[in-house]
């Protein structure tokens, strides 16, 4: 069973979802597929993490959701990034970059 990789740093999933949504509105399944493709099959996000994460983003007002027809004519719920979401992405990304740089620095110089 695909599980959210334990290697995903806590809180990173929200960041990844927001980033993926910058290009276009997507439904839940599409998001998992996109994450999988972009990460060369490394990041396998399970539904049990995805949907709580999406609900969390909805609750915080970073994304909007609405029902629309999917590519193969199924009714799917599409998530769109909001203005607040973009702002959140920018700040979270900056934080993340900082964190990664710091970790890299430790790993390289310790």
């Amino acid at each position: 069973m695909p599980r959210s990789s334990p290697d995903i740093l806590p809180g990173t999933l929200d960041l990844l979802i927001l980033r993926v949504l910058t290009r276009e509105s997507m439904h839940g399944y599409g998001i998992t597929q996109r994450l999988k493709t972009l990460s060369n099959d490394v990041l396998l996000v399970g539904e049990s993490s995805l949907y709580p994460a999406l609900q969390r983003l909805l609750l915080n007002g970073y994304v909007d959701a609405e029902w629309a027809a999917s590519e193969n004519n199924r009714k799917a719920r599409y998530y769109t990034l909001t203005k607040a979401g973009r702002k959140q992405l920018a700040s979270e990304r900056a934080e993340f970059d900082q964190l990664v740089t710091a970790i890299q620095h430790v790993l390289n110089h310790a």
Binding site: H27, E47, R56
Partner: protein, 861 residues
């Protein structure tokens, strides 16, 4: 904030929200299935693989939902709804539990309200800091331990820590703003001028007393009235300052009005303040005027110099007063300066709160114990439900929580109900406690918090034990239905006994008091008091003018009355059953040191005839001849061995000769007959007219006669029996309170009996069923059930009866000669208890009788 709004919206549109989640996950599943199918799997295999990949869909939905709605909150909501449903399924239990809880909580809340009114409220003054009530402690246990006026003067003169000191004494008076009107019975404080200084009270109108007004026999008597009295009795006129207010025939000039809503420092509603020294005029022998240092009777308040704490004040005053205490054993005494709360003022600093607390705890404890029994009985009948849930995998904690939620639900509803009850009854509390400050008695935030906190605590108290007991894990379904350890039941039975005993004695007391009132209403006072009409004249002029005009007025009145066709009219200083005035007298040949206190009644010579008070020896006195008539009791007291006729009596500097002995009658008071001295009415006053009549025509004729002599004089005409009703109103209040407490206690006890019984019936359902199946008669089964509680009920009755027989004599002064063992009173008790007992046992007994052997045996199968 926005997040909470979103959450709230999700909660409201719960179904919609839930549907969205479900549909979304379903879409996810089908998209996954499509992909799998596209990559070559057949339809069925793809569906299965997709479902496998997705795992527990419900769990995922739960988790997603958990982001929005705190799961524990959701399950609490579930518990609550489940609780409401299950409470509705057993209305008898729910009602009994609610009643018990509400009564217990309402009583506790009321007591807490009273407690907060008396103990927690500071005095109604602008600054309580520095204000203190003085008290003496330690030293020899004197009957009199307090401050005298001399102490107060000494402190005022010498203290450096006290900036103002005031003394007061509380007296009840009848006053009226004009003699034309009925007088009010008001609580008054006789105070020193320092009283208002110490309180730093700014009067609404007028000024404080001046030191030169604080004298006995002052030419100009002055008074300060409450704002309420100004509005009520003076119509709120702005020029009230300078107007007179009358106490009997004495006129006082109003010099000040207290601020609105201010009725003295304590919650008792004082309406009138008079200079302390003017008390000498009416009560020259009052204890207040005793001189001994540290052994008297005025209440004292002080205002400390800014920055000085109460301990320093107490230390300094102790030092000052020690110089004046003469007895060596008084050296251990200390002055204490207590903060100005009402309890401090009421003098029962610790006793009252402790009593209140104890009573509250007992009531709550009894109520909780009752409820625990009810809960236990109920959980037995729910054993199947509980064991089934346990067997299906519910954790014990979950079910305990469920049961506790039910208990909490009950107690919160009861809490709200009791708060409402307290609110409704605050008027009654106010009347009973003789305080007239509604804002004090309206439950405020503190009381509400107390009420709900107590109710929550109680729910744990009565809910936890039964919940733990009924969820004790057992392997066999329905095996929770085992016999109870005898200890638990026995402890319940002891409680039951206490409850029955207590409520029985309360009901007995109430019943006795009621009978006492009835008895007093029918009491033979010794003369036909009920036929006596009382007419009291209040002239309109100033005090001096009235005194001067009195003889002329009375002469004209007497001759007008004599020439009218009215029945004979007598005069009395005060009408029957209004006030009991005492004086101090000694026999001829004795000295002032032998003075003893006797009641004194001023009557005109024909008074004995008109009222029908028989003279058993000698004759009635004639006016102005220094003659008196004593009653039999006084004759026996002073001259036990010889006749009273011809003896001399000395009152102050006047000497009287006894010319007659009258029969003992209730003239001044109802509960006892004091040794009484009958004197001619005093000249210079306006005595009441007494005549034997019920006739409205007679009243009209008296009005006409009085109006003809003095058009401005006012007249009030009543029947003497009205005074009896007024006299009994206090006792009525007491009886009412006792009935209230007794009946409440009885309801609690009934709930207790009900609970124990319900428990027994439920526990022995199987046994009852089997017995019935084996051919026992229902009557026999009932007998077996009653046997369990028989001891408790009989014990409670016996104990209660014993208690009330012991307590009865304590009520003697309210019984007016009625025996404390009055059979009628106890018959009423028996009827009330029988009714309560019947109701308490009827429902469970009926339930036991409704047991169908077939059903019980099937349940067992």
């Amino acid at each position: 904030m926005v997040r909470w709004l979103r959450r709230f919206r999700a909660r409201i549109r719960y179904r919609h929200f839930e549907g969205d989640l479900q549909a979304e996950i379903e879409t996810h599943r089908s998209l996954l299935q499509d992909d799998l199918a596209r990559s070559g799997a057949d339809n069925e295999a793809a569906r299965a693989a997709a479902a496998r990949a997705l795992g527990n869909v419900t769990l995922q939905r739960e988790q997603a939902r958990g982001v929005w709605l705190a799961p524990w909150l959701e399950s609490l909501w579930q518990d609550a709804r489940y609780g409401v449903r299950s409470l509705r399924r057993s209305p008898a239990f729910s009602l009994a539990a609610l009643a018990t809880l509400t009564i217990g909580l309402a009583l506790a809340t009321m007591m807490f309200t009273a407690f907060s009114v008396f103990a927690l409220n500071p005095w109604k003054v602008a600054h309580t800091r520095g204000l203190a009530q003085l008290r003496l402690e330690g030293g020899p246990p004197d009957r009199q331990r307090g401050f005298s006026l001399a102490d107060v003067e000494d402190i005022a003169a010498r203290s450096r820590t006290v900036s103002a000191i005031g003394a007061y004494r509380i007296v009840y008076l009848r006053v009226t703003p004009s003699r034309a009107e009925e007088s009010d019975h008001v609580a008054a404080q006789y105070v020193t001028p320092g009283f208002f200084d110490a309180l730093e009270l700014r009067l609404a109108l007028g000024r404080n007393f001046r030191p030169d007004e604080n004298h006995a026999g002052a030419a100009n008597r002055v008074a300060i009235i409450s704002h309420g009295m100004w509005q009520r009795r003076f119509g709120g006129v702005p020029d009230v300052i300078g107007r007179p207010i009358f106490h009997g025939n004495d006129a006082y000039t109003v010099i000040g009005v207290a601020p609105k809503g201010w009725n003295g420092p304590a919650p008792y509603a004082y309406e009138l303040w008079l200079p302390l020294e003017s008390l000498r005029d009416s009560r020259p022998d009052d204890d207040v005027f005793s001189e001994a240092a540290g052994r008297c009777c005025v209440s004292v308040i002080t205002r400390a110099v800014p920055g000085v704490g109460p301990d320093r004040v107490a230390d300094e005053l102790t030092t000052l007063l020690r110089q004046r205490w003469q007895r060596p054993d008084e050296r251990d005494r200390r002055v204490r300066a207590e903060t100005a709360t009402f309890v401090g003022g009421a003098g029962a600093r610790l006793v009252l709160p402790v009593l209140v607390l104890a009573a509250t705890l007992i009531i709550l404890f009894l109520a909780s114990a009752n409820l625990a029994h009810l809960q236990l009985a109920r959980s037995l009948s729910r054993a199947r439900e509980i064991q089934t849930r346990l067997a299906l995998g519910a954790s014990r904690a979950r079910i305990v929580r469920q049961l506790l939620t039910e208990a909490l639900l009950l107690s919160l509803v009861a809490g709200a109900a009791s708060l409402l009850l307290t609110y409704t009854l605050s008027g009654v509390l106010m009347t009973v406690s003789e305080t007239r400050s509604p804002e004090l008695w309206t439950p405020g935030p503190a009381v509400s918090v107390f009420c709900f906190a107590t109710s929550a605590l109680m729910s744990v108290f009565f809910g936890l034990a039964p919940a733990l007991r009924s969820t004790r894990v057992s392997l066999v379904l329905g095996a929770g239905r085992t016999a109870t350890p005898a200890g638990r039941l026995a402890h319940g039975l002891v409680l039951l006994t206490t409850q029955i005993a207590l409520s029985l004695s309360l009901v007995a007391g109430a019943s006795l008091l009621t009978r006492g009132i009835q008895h007093a209403m029918d009491l033979d006072v010794g003369y036909p008091m009920r036929e006596v009409m009382v007419a009291t004249v209040r002239p309109a002029g100033s005090d001096e003018a009235n005194r001067a005009a009195a003889p002329g007025f009375m002469g004209a009145l007497a001759s007008a009355l004599a020439s009218s066709d009215l029945p004979p009219v007598a005069f009395a200083d005060f009408p029957p059953l209004t006030v009991d005035i005492s004086t101090r007298v000694h026999r001829g040949g004795e000295t002032k040191r032998d003075d003893r206190s006797v009641s004194v009644v001023g009557l005109s010579p024909n008074g004995f005839d008109v009222l029908g008070i028989p003279i058993v020896e000698g004759r009635a006195f004639t006016a102005g001849a220094g003659e008196v008539v004593v009653n039999q009791r006084m004759a026996r007291l002073l001259w036990p061995d010889s006749t009273a006729l011809g003896q001399r009596i000395i009152e102050g500097d006047r000497t009287y000769t006894v010319v007659g002995v009258s029969r003992d009658v209730h003239y001044a008071s109802l509960d006892r007959i004091e040794p009484t001295l009958h004197l001619p009415t005093r000249p210079g006053l306006y005595p009441s007219m007494l005549l034997r009549s019920h006739d409205a025509g007679a009243a009209d004729r008296i009005r006409a006669i009085v109006a003809a002599i003095d058009r401005r004089a006012a007249l009030s005409i009543t029947q003497a029996s009205d005074n009896l009703t007024t006299k009994l109103s206090d006792q009525r209040g007491l009886a009412l309170a006792a009935w209230g407490a007794g009946l409440l206690g009885l309801v609690l006890a009934s709930c207790g009996v009900f609970g124990v019984f319900a428990y027994i019936v439920e526990e022995r359902r199987r046994e009852i069923g089997i017995r019935l199946a084996l051919g026992a008669e229902r009557r026999q089964v009932l007998g077996a059930l009653f046997r369990t509680t028989r001891l408790a009920i009989l014990g409670g009755f016996t104990l209660g009866l014993l208690l009330s027989l012991l307590a009865g004599p304590l009520l003697r002064q309210f019984l007016y000669g009625l025996s404390p063992f009055d059979p009628t009173a106890f018959a009423i008790v028996a009827i009330v208890l029988a009714a309560a007992g019947f109701i308490a046992t009827f429902i469970p007994a009926r339930r036991a009788m409704a047991v169908e052997p077939m059903i019980v045996l099937k349940e067992e199968g």
